[in-house]
């Protein structure tokens, strides 16, 4: 897998999402809980806007000096016995990791949840060299057993219900208990504990690296990232190159913003910062450590008007308030990064060609921009994408251009406008019922496939206004 997760056309993906009643209910309920959790934490602080301002200032400064901070980070990781590999592309990152796996003759790899390893398709690369990969985050493990894909960047199996999880465990792992979430989780604990103990190599992502001392930090709740960094003798952390802070003091701010914005917690159960290899006399932690710093298209965004998209700390707050995500779900975006931030960064990382519909998967209501803990102007960036797609890339539909030309001509003639406004209601009468059109003709069909359209009003605004002026019925 890579950043692109589907070859189906956008409209088909959306249709599939809209028709999936369970998923839509699950997403709506999850959004409600995530939102109220985030709001409660923001309210409790009382000065949330100051926190956001600080978050934005830190991210802006860090990205402007990213070459400087990455150099310091790599020096410090190296001083503490870690190897650092800078990977320009997904292929380079995967080849380096494959090389380690082969060198260690590793048969089993345990992973903790990491979006960047999904993005570069690491699991397939590991399978190529004969290593068995076990995802250890509960949600990721469920998806791996069921050969399914994440639909949310924080709770990846959001689209699955507990009956489906029970069925998957039963078929793939011989599970015999009920569909109670506690029993399912307890089974996962037992199964995965054995995997941790048997693993040769542990692989994690990275929430934030601390440049000043070379610490790589993981923000988790389940404890699997701690297991992955405690037990295997060889450990590899893969980080998107922008996931870095200057010092421990900025780590505090970004972690505080992340846990509040993502899950409404003051801190998650585990914030774990590991630095290089284990020290003399220590029994836990790796004796061999590798940090892989991945570009994979990110550097193209530096120095452009989209640079602030790299400020993202992957909290998913924008996803949790998005009315479009609510209806179509994560898979419809066709990218491992869904929602507003996915619609902004997917075309930047992977090109417009395969993702040109994504900037339109937004109502531009601006809720995403309002909740972003580091103040990325998401909906404005979506508008810029649209402009670029239409103008610079000249990918506007020819029929659409013709239609727009016709519309301009028609709308600039008062007589033509008046005539058609009056004709609209009788013309659409055959499709109207109770003042709504549920299945419209021609160009209206595209709209009414997914939602209803109000029938044209009984009288036009102009005639209503004229009558009102004369003191008649309003």
């Amino acid at each position: 897998m890579s950043i692109k997760i589907s070859n189906a056309p956008y409209n088909e993906r959306v249709q599939e999402g809209v028709k999936n009643d369970f998923m839509r209910k699950a997403v709506a309920s999850a959004q409600g809980r995530f939102r109220s959790g985030r709001q409660k934490q923001a309210d409790e602080l009382g000065n949330w806007e100051d926190w956001r301002t600080l978050g934005e200032e830190i991210r802006t400064h860090t990205l402007r000096n990213i070459d400087y901070y990455l150099e310091i980070l790599s020096e410090n990781v190296s001083k503490r016995g870690g190897n650092v590999f800078f990977a320009k592309t997904a292929e380079e990152a995967n080849e380096y990791i494959q090389h380690i796996i082969k060198k260690k003759n590793a048969k089993k790899v345990v992973k903790s949840k990491s979006m960047v390893t999904e993005e570069i398709g690491l699991n397939d690369a590991l399978a190529e060299v004969g290593a068995e990969v076990v995802e250890s985050d509960l949600g990721e493990w469920i998806l791996q057993l069921d050969e399914d894909l994440p639909s949310h960047i924080v709770t990846p199996a959001l689209h699955k219900n507990k009956e489906q999880v029970r069925e998957t465990f039963a078929v793939k792992k011989g599970y015999e208990q009920s569909d109670k979430p506690e029993e399912l989780a307890s089974f996962a604990r037992q199964q995965l504990r054995q995997e941790f103990l048997a693993a040769d190599v542990g692989i994690t992502g990275c929430n934030f690296a601390v440049a000043e001392s070379g610490a790589v930090t993981f923000v988790t709740n389940e404890g699997n990232a701690r297991m992955v960094t405690t037990i295997p003798d060889t450990q590899i952390s893969v980080m998107g190159m922008e996931r870095i802070v200057p010092t421990w003091e900025e780590l505090d701010i970004l972690v505080s913003l992340l846990t509040r914005a993502a899950v409404g917690q003051k801190l998650t159960s585990y914030i774990t910062s590991i630095t290089g290899t284990r020290l003399e006399g220590e029994s836990d932690g790796p004796e061999e450590y590798h940090l892989v710093i991945v570009d994979n298209g990110r550097s193209k965004i530096l120095g452009t008007e989209f640079q602030s998209a790299l400020h993202c700390i992957r909290c998913a707050a924008c996803i949790n308030v998005c009315p479009v995500y609510r209806h179509v779900g994560g898979h419809a975006y066709g990218s491992i990064y869904p929602g507003p931030i996915g619609a902004v960064i997917t075309p930047l990382l992977d090109g417009y060609e395969d993702h040109k519909e994504l900037p339109y998967a937004s109502s531009l209501c601006g809720a995403c921009t309002e909740v972003c803990p580091v103040k990325i102007p998401l909906h404005e960036q979506l508008i810029r994408h649209r402009q670029i797609i239409v103008e610079r890339e000249n990918k506007g539909n020819k029929m659409e251009k013709l239609a727009m030309k016709g519309f301009a001509k028609w709308a600039s003639s008062p007589a033509a406008y008046k005539l058609s406004a009056a004709a609209a209601r009788p013309a659409l009468q055959p499709w109207s019922k109770n003042e709504m059109i549920k299945s419209g003709p021609g160009p209206l069909k595209g709209w009414t496939i997914n939602r209803d359209f109000p029938a044209p009003a009984k009288q036009t605004f102009r005639s209503w206004y004229k009558n009102r002026q004369k003191g008649r019925e309003v």
Partner: protein
């Protein structure tokens, strides 16, 4: 250790930013706001303990408060409450100071106790894996979030607070601070003054949990299922 492809990688970042590569002289700017220092900044230690106690309800953690005289009694009750037979604990210098050394020795009749021992290497992990209870001191305690900070080292393995079914953190009152800000400042200042940071700094906030199945909160996944904090008045 090896650093590969760095120059070409960082040169191209600088080129995209439209300037020469920066290798020195970058200072953190003075941020325009600093809300993190306002949190609980007037609270006394006792008020911070109240905040911690309240937060323990949110994070599904049992809260107990005692003094040095009664610590051993409270600890024993807690272990028995967890039906703990096998115990793994850090070989912290504070064990002696708080009278735990004697407890661990005398408790050997009732429990199977293992103190982390650097000479036993991987045996430590094997023991932690089958332990019912893990016990460590907190190095810095964050009132706001209900977090114990552990500087893991050869006396205090990462596994102790992670692999056993239950976990007990002993919190000396003087370790309590308002929030993560004070802990990260301490880490920053220690770094500046030339002290190497621990190979692992663990901020632990209650038991492990997950909401991955239908957004239901499940307490206890890969880490401990139950956690108790024992605050000890100095």
């Amino acid at each position: 250790m090896a650093i590969q492809n760095r120059d070409s990688f960082l040169d191209s970042l600088a080129a995209n930013l439209g300037r020469p590569r920066r290798t020195q002289g970058i200072e953190r700017p003075k941020w325009s706001v600093s809300p993190q220092f306002e949190v609980l900044n007037q609270a006394s230690k006792d008020e911070l303990i109240d905040v911690l106690k309240k937060q323990c309800e949110v994070i599904h953690t049992d809260f107990k408060r005692t003094d040095r005289t009664d610590l051993v009694k409270v600890l024993r009750e807690t272990i028995e409450g967890y039906n703990g037979k096998v115990i793994v604990a850090s070989s912290d210098s504070r064990n002696e100071e708080y009278g735990l050394d004697n407890f661990y020795k005398s408790a050997a009749e009732d429990f199977d106790v293992h103190l982390w021992d650097e000479t036993m290497w991987k045996e430590n992990q094997v023991f932690a894996e089958r332990a019912d209870v893990g016990i460590t001191f907190s190095d810095i305690t964050l009132a706001e979030s209900g977090t114990v900070t552990l500087f893991n080292n050869k006396y205090n393995g990462r596994s102790i607070s992670l692999m056993p079914r239950t976990y007990i953190a002993i919190i000396p009152k003087h370790t309590i601070v308002p929030r993560m800000t004070q802990a990260t400042r301490q880490l920053h200042e220690a770094h500046i003054s030339g002290n190497a940071v621990s190979s692992c700094v663990s901020f632990v906030t209650g038991p492990s949990n997950s909401a991955d199945i239908e957004m239901n909160l499940i307490v206890g996944v890969h880490g401990p299922v139950e956690v108790t904090y024992i605050v000890v008045d100095d």
